[in-house]
């Protein structure tokens, strides 16, 4: 194996490995994790690669510790990541909320498997979508991406680090087992073509006056001082004022939580990603994501061959949910078909935004949804229209 930092070139690469290489290319130099199928290959790849590129790999005692460690490492200035699957994501939810509250950037990769509970460890699922959105207690907003190929495992891991740093938020790469274990062409660009969004740093020297949670810019993101920078910052999971000091008042709490949510809401134009297929004249819109979108695209093509005016919106960002784009499509479309490997999670979002019932093609997980039931659903909707 090469020891280069960025493996520029064309590869035939495993999705989990592509994620690991994306992290390295993004400048991630700290990984703390706990082995769990089907994400383990990310840890394995980084255990091998990080020592070659100056990164720190540490296998923790559990996912609680893994999540705590990456927040600590990021607070000291390193781009940091963990990777897991559903049962581990449940344990990480505690400190995911801490990252939200402390505004410490980090990336959490969830290679989804069949759930709930231990479920289907080696088989695919897409049923952590709502957990990714709401899993930690309290009001907050999250950013989560859904790759549909090993190439996107690479690309979206980099984007996740950039979004995390720019907005000081945890970002979830919400992949599924099919994509994590898929081997496919991955093109890695030259190092200087990989975009890097910096964390905002304090503009003033450490003089005792810096307020680490004072957001003066319209993006509502405060500059971040790291441990050892000399600013003597205080970070807490308690409700805190602009100095970072605990403040047990309803007023401060409302201000803080509102800013944390508004910060992510305002980022929507910058962080939301979708892709269109045959949507220009579509009367029927299929919405799908991750591995499921690969079957859905095939079904849409076949339906087009049959003369049905159908297109597909692929969700690349699940959270924030691409509301504006879906609303726009709803103004022209007669019907929506939502395809996902769960029993209806994103479909609720689609119905909320379009204010009309969507036809679901659902499966609880364990195997990819084949194109046939999707095609049938499209035909049915076309006949009903």
């Amino acid at each position: 194996m090469t020891t280069r930092r960025v493996l520029t070139g064309k590869h035939f690469m495993h999705g989990d490995y592509a994620c690991a290489e994306g992290a390295i290319a993004a400048g991630c130099r700290f990984f703390a994790g706990y082995p769990i199928t089907p994400s383990t290959e990310i840890a394995e790849r980084l255990a091998r690669r990080f020592p070659q590129v100056g990164g720190v790999f540490v296998q923790m005692e559990d996912e609680l510790a893994s999540m705590a460690a990456i927040i600590g490492s990021s607070a000291a200035g390193k781009r940091s990541m963990t990777a897991t699957s559903g049962p581990g994501l449940s344990l990480m939810m505690e400190n995911l909320g801490l990252a939200v509250m402390m505004e410490v950037p980090c990336v959490v990769v969830d290679i989804q498997r069949g759930s709930p509970s231990t479920g289907l460890p080696t088989m695919a699922g897409q049923s952590d979508v709502m957990q990714a959105r709401w899993g930690s207690h309290g009001d907050y907003r999250i950013v989560a991406y859904s790759p549909w190929s090993p190439q996107e495992m690479f690309d979206l891991t980099i984007l996740s680090f950039n979004v995390a740093d720019r907005y000081r938020v945890p970002v979830i790469v919400l992949a599924d087992e099919v994509i994590g274990h898929m081997v496919e062409r991955v093109v890695i660009p030259p190092e200087d073509e990989i975009s890097f969004w910096e964390r905002k740093k304090p503009q003033q020297p450490p003089n005792g006056k810096f307020k680490p949670f004072l957001a003066e810019s319209s993006d509502l993101v405060p500059p971040m001082a790291h441990a050892g920078d000399g600013y003597r910052v205080h970070f807490t999971g308690l409700t805190h004022d602009e100095r970072g000091y605990p403040d047990m008042s309803a007023e401060t709490h409302h201000q803080l939580v509102t800013r944390l949510i508004e910060k992510v809401r305002r980022s929507a134009d910058d962080v939301t990603r979708t892709e269109d297929y045959y949507l220009d004249d579509a009367r029927i819109v299929v919405i799908s994501y991750g591995c499921t979108a690969r079957s859905a695209r095939r079904a849409v093509r076949e339906a087009r061959d049959q003369g049905i005016p159908v297109g597909m919106l692929r969700l690349i960002s699940l959270w924030p949910f691409p509301e504006e784009r879906v609303r726009e499509l709803a103004s022209n479309a007669d019907a929506f078909v939502v395809v996902e490997m769960n029993l209806g999670q994103i479909s609720n979002e689609v119905e909320r935004v379009t204010r009309q019932p969507a036809r679901g093609v659902f499966h609880a997980g364990g195997a990819m949804i084949p194109p046939e039931p999707i095609l049938e659903a499209i035909q049915k909707v076309a006949n009903d229209a």
Binding site: T3, R4, R5, R29, F30, A32, F50, P51, Q52, V53, G54, V56, F57, V58, M60, E61, D62, L64, A65, S66, A68, A69, I70, I71, G72, S73, S74, A75, A76, G77, K78, S80, E94, N95, L98, M102, P206, H226, A227, G228, D229, G230, Y231, R232, V233, H234, F235, T236, G237, L238, Y245, P246
Partner: protein
């Protein structure tokens, strides 16, 4: 009468957030004394103050992170140790100390504690042990002696407590000691020594919790518990680790001092020499 002298500054003004005073601790609580020893050790350490980082979990002792005027992280319940590991491994120049309580470190954070000791990570842990959960109002904890009363053990604790030095020694900690908040000079010196000792250090500090523990267990106030420390503390020269358990209600020695002093190399992440 000595002449009254007004001074402008307290020696610890620079590293305690005086704008956060008064603190939340009860009268007679020992945590402030332990924090003061930590603060003095920082100033005496010769390590620049800006390289010191304190990490806490949740609880009364966990509030120390909020009062120290250094880079400070008040994390989730029990997770101070793994958070500290992240800080230290990301920036090895930092001197990372976890300052937290027995419930936080040994119950909800118990797994992290023993694994950090096993790894021998270069993190210092100051564990204030007051034998109960103080902040939530005197509940039974992992160090509450068998039979002692607590709000969630109104008929007496039916469980056996942890003997923390024994646990930490078995888990592989490089250095394990115990003092009380009566032993301010020894405690400060011990923390100072900890800064200069690579690897995982665990310092247990016994501290009165007159409201949470004392009231339910016939210890009238903080002063009475300090008196118990004065009467019963004995330097543990060669006392077997399994005999280091504590029950303040029994008239038997409380062993203090250094119990483990190993010189194992601290955890180092694997780094390869690679041309890049």
């Amino acid at each position: 009468m000595p002449e009254e002298k007004i001074v402008d500054r307290h020696p610890l003004d620079d590293i305690i957030r005086s704008d956060r005073m008064p603190h939340i601790w009860c009268a007679g609580c020992g945590i402030g004394i332990a924090m003061r020893c930590y603060a003095h050790a920082i100033l005496a350490s010769g390590i620049p103050v800006d390289q010191h980082v304190v990490v806490s979990g949740i609880g009364c002792s966990g509030r120390v992170a909020g009062y120290m005027n250094i880079d400070s992280y008040h994390t989730t319940h029990g997770r101070g140790v793994p958070f500290a590991i992240g800080l230290k491994l990301a920036n090895p120049d930092l001197m990372v100390t976890v300052f937290s309580g027995d419930g936080d470190l040994a119950a909800i954070g118990g797994n992290h504690l023993i694994h950090a000791a096993r790894r021998n990570v270069d993190v210092k842990v100051i564990c204030v042990n007051n034998f109960n959960y103080g902040m939530t109002g005197g509940q039974v904890g992992p160090t509450t002696p068998t039979g002692a009363r607590a709000t969630t053990a109104p008929y007496g604790n039916p469980e056996l407590p942890f003997n923390l030095p024994y646990l930490l020694a078995a888990s592989g900690a490089n250095y394990v000691s115990r003092w009380t908040v009566l032993h301010v000079r020894q405690l400060k010196q011990d923390i100072l020594d900890a800064f200069n000792r690579p690897g995982f250090v665990f310092v247990e500090v016994l501290a009165p919790c007159p409201i949470g523990f004392g009231r339910a267990n016939n210890i009238a106030d903080g002063l009475e518990e300090m008196e118990l420390y004065r009467e019963r503390c004995v330097m543990a020269d060669g006392v077997p680790l399994e005999q280091l358990g504590i029950d303040l209600r029994e008239e038997r020695p409380i062993y203090v001092g250094t119990f483990v002093d190993r010189d194992q190399p601290p955890y180092q992440p694997i780094q390869l020499e690679v041309d890049s």
